[in-house]
Amino acid sequence: MTNEALTNPASLPVENGLKGVVSDWSSDQRAFKKVPWGKAMMWVFLLSDTFVFASFLVSYMTVRISTTVPWPNVSKVFSLTVGGQEVPLLLIAIMTFILISSSGTMAMAVKFGYQKDRRKTALLILATAAFGATFVGMQAFEWTKLIMEGVRPWGNPFGAPQFGSSFFMITGFHGFHVSVGVVFLLIMAAKVWRGDLDRETPGFLTGRRGNYEMVEIMGLYWHFVDLVWVFIFAFFYLW
């Protein structure tokens, strides 16, 4: 068994292009050569989660069509007053910038992870978590501002009640994803910092040995949450 196992999976011959896809899928053991189990599972999960967010956004579009009351003017609702001047979409532009930046630090963390640079990886993951936490904090600020102005899930002074309902539901669900991500980023940062991934320490709950692929899997999730935000941003704030 193990003695027959290839010691270095990277040495597997892999064909490129369509031919490679066909030969991988008609082979034994693994359909995605070189892809570890955890990474494959994260991709499948993200596919499923895509359908969750797609259902949310389609529902939002449907109620926006079905409601009889005019939709609020979003560039007014989502504006901040800075120095006596109303700047539309200011807060959300900063939030989006922060979240996209966090994807950058995450990508760098993955790169340094594969170089086994323990310190840089941990710091970059921490930076990502900090960006994420800032995003959630600013979202809390935005929610507070809207609630103070009288926006509720069941109604608001600016127009269709479905505006408040879908806004709180969808940004809340996305914010929940970001918060979960931040928690796991902090756990991952601690693991990297302690050297669990270098020493291949078994996980506390799952008993699976640590490795730097975990950083990349975490990154996949983080980029996904980022990508979803782009859609929410486009459909909520720009439409």
């Binding site: 196992a5 995605f32 999960f45 259902s55 529902s59 269709a160 799952t206 008993g207």
Partner: protein, 595 residues
């Protein structure tokens, strides 16, 4: 062609293992082994027992419903509200908490690792969580029987506005418990489903290519993908309906006047709920049906002692049905008031899906053709499935057409159709599968005589229940009605038909107790089965121990040299060749060496 002499060097036929085996978790205590177990086989049995247990509740509910329909005004404890609650809970439990959980959580967990030659699922810890969240969802659902107002009576489809208005039974607690329970079920299922998909894709043993997998694995794999993509729509609609109920949002609620009072709702779309629900609901039909297709293919092939006819076409039919099932959902909504052009589109796709389905039926029949058929109990159930599935499928063609459906919608004809095609047919397969794999799970055979009695009563009884029900539908007897009352179009004789259906249902129900008795009795007193009682080729029958120990196979994982259907191979010594039997170079037609 010249063959390379291979000795025992399997690498000639199968590539070397690409990765070292992961360490298995080793439980040290009884609780770790049987309660908080991470072994897929134990989780499978936990799933199965829970699913069958909650299924029995739904069975009893169906008896009570039938008592009311067969003998109205006889049972004072069944009032209209209670009747609606029984209908709703019966439907939801049977479709989701019994069939989905049993096929994917039960058979999926047990069979996938064994059939693809893996030691366990890829992430056993997540798999364990999946079961415990499922159990929590079941308990939440059952709790609704004990809350003020009782369980929801809004129908298993929970259409708004009536599911949200206070008029429906269980309007306070019942509906919310149902929605929250569904959300938990979906979270739990996703954890298991990710495991099933990744195990099939990435954790097969050496030599096990996708096109050598038994159809059972193909079917459960495809059904799991359907579930992972379809359940999100139900998850989202459950969240939105919960918000409508608790926070007073109006996702699904139009402006509405109830009992002369204008409610606070307005501007939502009730049809949106129907679209979301059926975007989940139609794939759900195939989440239940596809595993049945796969399992029945294997049972038929084993007991006909022939390879499954058209294996590749069977695989592509499973995949094709799975893909098509996402574009037919609105055929449940012909009478919902959606745009009539939608009806044209969805009727077309619905009829297209009949093509791969019919292809499968032909292949099952052709597998039997000139087979050396062993009419044992699993085989009887498998053949029974072909009958009930064809009947249910044919009435599906009626209902798939808009013009016919408009007349038959919401009548007993629909009830007869979907019970025939997605209740009786998959349940016959579940029973056949239990008779088939019980020896592997326990090491003992189920009693044959009891099994045959069980089959004939269930099979003939199903026809006694559902054939007359089609006729009631033609007469115009509506579904979900507590009592028929006086109409000018339903003759009095319909009532005697209803009574006979009820008697048949009760008889069939009682004989399921015989099956449960058989399960328990055989566990202690059944005939020892040996490792491979059915002389089958697939890997789960080639394990070193029966029942298989933790880790499934002995110290060495099996290497697969051939597909799953080498039965009655000309020139072979036995009439079956296990998948892990190395090619005998002296025999003609032995496996082809890897180049």
């Amino acid at each position: 062609m010249t063959y390379v002499p291979i000795g025992h060097d399997a690498t000639v036929y199968a590539p070397p293992a690409e990765t070292p085996e992961p360490e298995l978790y080793h439980p040290k205590t009884f609780i770790g082994k049987y309660i908080w177990s991470q072994d897929a086989k134990v989780i499978a049995i936990q799933y199965s027992i829970t699913a069958i247990g909650v299924g029995l509740v739904a069975l009893v509910l169906s008896w009570l419903m039938r008592l009311q329909l067969g003998f109205p005004n006889t049972f004072s404890f069944i009032d209209p509200s209670a009747y609606l609650q029984m209908v709703s809970m019966h439907g939801m439990i049977m479709v989701i908490y019994l069939l989905t959980a049993l096929f994917l959580g039960g058979f999926g967990n047990y069979l996938i690792p064994l059939m693809v030659g893996a030691r366990d699922m890829v992430f056993p810890y997540l798999n364990m969580l999946s079961y415990w969240i499922y159990l929590f969802a079941v308990l939440l659902l059952l709790a609704s029987f004990f809350v003020p107002g009782g369980p929801t009576g809004a129908g298993w489809t929970m259409y708004p506005p009536q599911a949200i208005l206070t008029g429906a039974p269980g309007a306070g607690w019942g509906i919310i418990l149902m929605l929250v329970s569904l959300a938990f079920f979906i979270v739990g299922f996703t954890m298991g489903g990710l495991n099933y998909v990744v195990t099939v894709l990435q954790a097969r043993t050496r030599g096990m290519t996708l096109m050598r997998m038994p159809l059972t694995v193909w079917a459960i794999f495809t059904a799991t993908i359907l579930a992972l993509l379809a359940f999100p729509a139900l998850f989202v609609s459950a969240i939105m309906m919960t918000l409508d109920l608790t926070l007073g949002t109006s996702f699904f609620m139009p402006g509405i006047v109830s009992q002369g009072k204008q409610l606070g709702y307005g501007g939502g779309s009730p049809v949106l709920f129907q679209h979301l629900f059926w975007f989940f609901g139609h794939p759900e039909v195939y989440i239940v049906a596809l595993p049945a297709f796969g399992i029945v293919s294997d049972i038929l092939s084993v007991n006909a002692r022939k390879n499954i006819f058209g294996y590749r076409m069977m695989v592509w039919a499973i995949v094709g049905i799975g893909a098509l099932s996402f574009v037919v959902w609105a055929h449940h909504m012909y009478v919902s008031g959606m745009n009539p052009y939608f009806g044209f589109f969805f009727a077309t796709t619905t009829l297209i899906i009949a093509i791969p389905t019919a292809l499968k039926v032909y292949n099952w029949v052709l597998t039997l053709w000139q087979g050396n058929i062993r009419l044992n109990v699993p085989m009887l159930f498998a053949i029974g499935f072909i009958f009930t599935f064809i009947h249910g499928g044919l009435t599906g063609i009626f209902l798939g057409n808009v013009a016919v459906d408009l007349a038959l919608s919401d009548t007993m004809f629909v009830v007869a159709h979907f019970h025939m095609v997605m209740a009786i047919a998959p349940v016959l397969v579940v029973m056949g599968a239990i008779y088939h794999w019980y020896p592997k799970m326990t090491g003992r055979m189920l009693d044959d005589t009891l099994g045959k009695i069980h089959f004939w009563v269930t099979f003939l009884g199903s026809y006694a229940i559902y054939l007359p029900m089609h006729y009631l539908g033609f007469l115009g007897v509506p579904r979900r009605y507590y009592a028929m009352g006086d109409t000018y179009f339903v003759p009095d004789s319909a009532q005697s038909l209803n009574a006979s259906i009820t008697i048949a249902a009760l008889v069939v129900g009682v004989f399921q107790l015989l099956f449960l008795y058989n399960l328990v009795w055989s566990y202690f007193k059944g005939k020892p089965s040996g490792d491979n009682p059915w002389e089958a080729t697939t890997l789960e029958w080639q394990t070193a121990d029966t029942p298989p120990k933790h880790g499934n196979f002995g110290p060495e994982l099996p290497v697969v040299y051939r597909w799953a259907y080498d039965y009655s191979v000309p020139g072979a010594a036995k009439d079956f060749i296990p998948q892990n039997e190395p090619p005998d170079l002296s025999a003609a037609g032995a496996g082809v060496p890897r180049t």
